[in-house]
């Protein structure tokens, strides 16, 4: 885990607290991280792994 990972985790937690539904598409448009980097940070499944680390429920999204 690098500071960059934690920036993304921090963003996810904030989004979850404000009850914004999370999807790869929306995260890619957030300006925090683009989709390519998001995959590079969490190659084993970006949304799945990052939400686990962030301690938030895995978004039930197919997109």
């Amino acid at each position: 885990m690098t500071p960059r990972h934690w920036e993304v985790i921090d963003y996810l937690q904030k989004e979850w607290k404000s009850e914004t539904p999370l999807s790869i598409r929306r995260i890619g448009k957030s300006g925090v991280v683009d989709i390519k980097e998001f995959y590079a940070l969490f190659p084993e499944g970006p949304l799945k792994i990052s939400s686990k680390i962030a301690g938030i429920p895995k978004p039930a999204s197919c997109i």
């Binding site: 999807s23 598409r25 949304l47 799945k48 997109i63």
Partner: protein, 160 residues
């Protein structure tokens, strides 16, 4: 003996059709695989090539004729404008669910590491050139090349 425990490691999806519902099925499956950390590649062949053709990909339609699940009589489905109407209805519903359009979906898949291949034979048949296709295309392959791409344990192939 193989030590693969049945885990899916790679999805090789062949898309041979260009009706909106088939294209989205392929895209959602490929993108969904990447989201789970599974590798994914799509081989666009025959009419599937329309989904990666620069001038055509924004104009894909859903079929209203020969589809019993549309629940409209075939004759009505064949009336002018019906296909466009059904397509715009479907696109509206997809937008509500935050499903990207075809072009954006291709860009998302490219950024997610989905490999996008065009079929050599179908390209020749339709007289398409590589320049006619989207910039995100990873290459033009023969069937043999595509099978080689899919080699290794835990690869699954899907024909749409």
């Amino acid at each position: 003996m193989s030590d693969n425990n049945g885990q899916i490691k790679k999805m090789m999806i062949i898309l041979s059709k260009a009706s909106l519902e088939n294209v989205y099925a392929a895209f959602v499956l490929a993108n969904g695989a990447r989201m789970e950390g599974i590798q994914a590649e799509i081989f666009f062949t025959f009419f599937g090539l329309e989904a990666i053709h620069k001038d055509k990909l924004e104009h894909l339609h859903t079929a209203t004729v020969g589809n019993p699940a549309m629940h409209i009589p075939t004759l009505i489905g064949g009336l002018p404008g019906m296909e466009a109407f059904a397509t715009s209805m479907m696109k509206k519903e997809m937008e509500k669910l935050d499903i990207p359009g075809v072009k954006e979906f291709l860009e998302i898949m490219n950024a997610s590491g989905v490999k996008l291949w065009a079929c050599r034979l179908a390209m020749d048949m339709f007289h398409y050139k590589k320049e006619d296709m989207i910039d995100e295309l990873d290459g033009v392959l023969t069937v043999g090349d595509f099978y080689k791409q899919g080699s290794g344990e835990g690869t699954h192939m899907l024909f749409i």
